[in-house]
């Protein structure tokens, strides 16, 4: 099986504080990996390493066969078009309509002129509508994004990744602001619709969601990998994750 992401001996430092230290992680293509752990454990930093937002101080990061340490800006941009990210704060552009926010997923493949033209006359509207339809918000295609509810925005952010069509999907606490039933629905969409067959790395606070929707659970504590187990092993033992994280 092909390897999508491979971290070896990775350390990241903010000032004098190590955010990650000696992290080894290998994610196969098509795997769905949940990152769990307390706040400040280094989950966001790990995700940032994969799309090149964070630079590793030690060790190596290889994503889709490319070593990130030696990429040029243009190479990194090309690589990033193959990595879709759902950010913690969604980071949608409020004053733009939903169609533009979803289309923004394709910016990496569009020329500047094409991007500008699409703001006037949206390109690929059918594809955008299809993506929104799969996520259950097709009726919001022409709405202004800052008028949507929290759950609707979440789906728009997912649609953006869907339209981008990446090989790897990263999600950083995608449901932190939703109530449990909605969170379950959104993570379900993320793992089934958006990631479906693609590699997924998602950080989650909610252990149950991690076990229910992912293949594998990686626990981070104070910048180190505390455990790395298949979800199936842990699924039938309530509280097992909590116990693992505490040790």
């Amino acid at each position: 099986m092909a390897v999508a992401i491979e971290l070896a001996g990775v350390g990241v430092r903010y000032g004098r504080q190590w955010a990650l230290q000696g992290v080894d992680l290998r994610v196969e293509a098509g795997e769905r990996v949940a990152l769990v752990g307390p706040s400040g454990a280094g989950k966001s930093t790990l995700l940032g390493l994969v799309n090149g937002l964070v630079r590793a101080e030690t060790g190596s990061v290889v994503v889709l066969g490319r070593a990130l340490g030696s990429t040029t800006g243009a190479e990194l941009r090309r690589l990033r078009t193959r990595i879709g990210t759902v950010h913690q704060h969604l980071d949608l552009v409020g004053p733009l309509r939903v169609v533009h926010n979803v289309n923004a997923g394709r910016l990496g493949r569009w020329s500047l002129a094409g991007a500008a033209a699409s703001l006037v006359r949206p390109a690929g509207v059918d594809e955008v509508r299809g993506a929104l339809d799969r996520l259950g918000v097709a009726d919001k295609l022409w709405a202004r994004t800052d008028r949507l509810s929290g759950g609707e925005r979440q789906r728009v952010a997912l649609a953006r990744v869907l339209v981008q069509g990446p090989d790897i999907v990263l999600a950083d606490e995608p449901v932190a602001s939703l109530d449990p039933p909605r969170a379950d629905a959104v993570v379900g969409l993320l793992t089934a619709e958006v990631a479906g067959g693609r590699t997924l790395v998602v950080s989650l606070h909610d252990h149950e969601l991690a076990l229910r929707h992912c293949d594998r659970v990686v626990g981070l504590v104070e910048g180190r990998v505390a455990f790395d187990r298949p979800a199936a092993e842990l699924r039938d033992r309530p509280g097992s994750l909590r116990a693992l994280l505490a040790t």
Binding site: R13, Y14, G15, G48, N51, G52, L53, V54, R55, L68, T71, G73, A74, L76, R77, R78, L79, R80, T81, R82, I83, G84, T85, H87, H89, D91, L92, V93, G94, P95, L96, R97, H100, A104, G105, L107, G108, R109, W110, L112, A115, A116, L119, D139, K140, L141, W142, A143, R144, D146, R147, Q164, P166
Partner: protein, 588 residues
Amino acid sequence: MSLAPSPLRLDLRDPPTDHERPRRRWRVPAFVGLALAGAAVRAGLNGRVVNGGGWAGFVEFWTAAARPELSAAFLRITWEATLDTIGFAVLGTALSVAIGVAGAAFVSSALWEDDGPGATPVRLARRAAGVSARAALVVPRALHEVVWGLLAVQVLGFDPLVAVVAIGVPFGAITARVYGDILDDADPGPRRALRAAGASRAAALLYGTVPLVRGDVTSYAFYRLECAVRSAAVLGIIGAGGLGFQLALSFQSLAYREIWTLLYALAALSTLADGWSGIVRRRQQSGHHDGADRDAAVRRRGHDPVLVGSIVAAVVLIGLSVRWTGVSPSTLVSRRARTLGPELLADLWPPRLDGTTLDALWSASIDTLAMSGLAMALAAGPALGAAFLAARSPGPLRLVVKGALLLTRAVPPPVWAFLAVLVLFPGIWPGALALALYNLGVLGRLGAEVVENLDDRPGRALRAQGAGALQSALYSTLPLAAARFTGLVAYRWEVAVRDTVMVGVVGAAGLGRLLSEQLAGRDYQGIAATLAALTVLSALVEAVGAALRRGLRRRSPELRRAGDGTAPPAPRRQPYTPPSTMKPWPVQ
């Protein structure tokens, strides 16, 4: 053809429902486009616009930039003129803040809210007082400082008090309105609680509201000082003394090298004032809009050495300015003022409103609107580009852009107008060009603050998935800044309509030129009619601008909390700052 649309025609309704593809909103853009086309036609589009004859002078002027006059004698003149200008600006600001504080008490509606038993006549009287106070502020606000200066010179002669009054009266009216709004926007809870406990209105205000608003009030006063420095320079041109007066003298003798010395002094002074006001506003605003930091900021505020030092320095400056300029309130009641003041009023009344005058007023009003509209059309695009560069471009380029913006706004519009008249025939175009250059500097700076204060996370998110820097600007920064920037342009247009007077008095078209002709001919009843036209036009434009900004606010929820930029946009903290040591990869 009228350029002023009726507020009712502005098509800024809510967008249609989510299900249907929205129809493109074309009415407002089309109207603006048509109006601008009309303005351009009125200004003239044929070859009679460009004046080849003045080209040599134009070139000579710019080559003198590298060789300013630096003789000891002239440097001394420049230094003293600079002190004069500082004095006028400081005293004018002090007067305007005094007027503002007093006026705000009448203008504020929250302050006079019905919160207890009171006889109906008392309530009605309160309401009437508020309404008439607002109405009374319209006229001083509508007339530009230069107009007040021209009128004050008639009564007071060439006295330093002219500049102080000319700045203090219109600025005071604006300050009163802004202070009134600040009072109305403040949390009424503490004040109501005190009133409910039996405190008098004044006591409740002092304990419940003043502590909440004093930061905003101080920071706005410093913003006014920044504006007053530029105004003081312009007022010199009409004879009030200071840098502007020296500029006018040097222009008359076409001493370009002297002009550059004075312009550099003005730019330096402007930078100092901008810098000072910027520091005070940043200090005051730090954490202001960020709930978590607010308490810390409030606690810090009382002891902030920079803020306290600035206020002390301002008070000392007022004392020094009184000494240096020799300004004395007794001039107001001097024999000259007591004789000429009532005479001027008697001469002004009644305004002459016969057919010929009305025709001239109508034509000059259209010219004024055309000039201000063209100025904004010329300035808006470059200002937007410059704002992006000044806020987001890498180091050296940013400094160059910021320097250029500083220079364009430090040079007073009448000076730009003089330069424009060298290469263009007198009329609407040189005035529009002069105002455009000046507003490019102002809008560029305000726009840069807007861009700097934007949430940059959406842009980073787009770059994280492979979008280029320009693409991400197009899809995040531009839409996020668009509404606020449009609001700024609308606001500056309102200001530009008043500013046309400045370039009018040095020969460009419009009501300003009409006014200067009437002043030269001592046609006081005509002057009164022109002043009335200026007031009406200004009120009209303000109403249109307000409608436009209301529409923008309705459509753009992000403006409701953050303000629409018509008050000075305060430098504001980012809502979220990434760890400063996070090293992003180079993104192209």
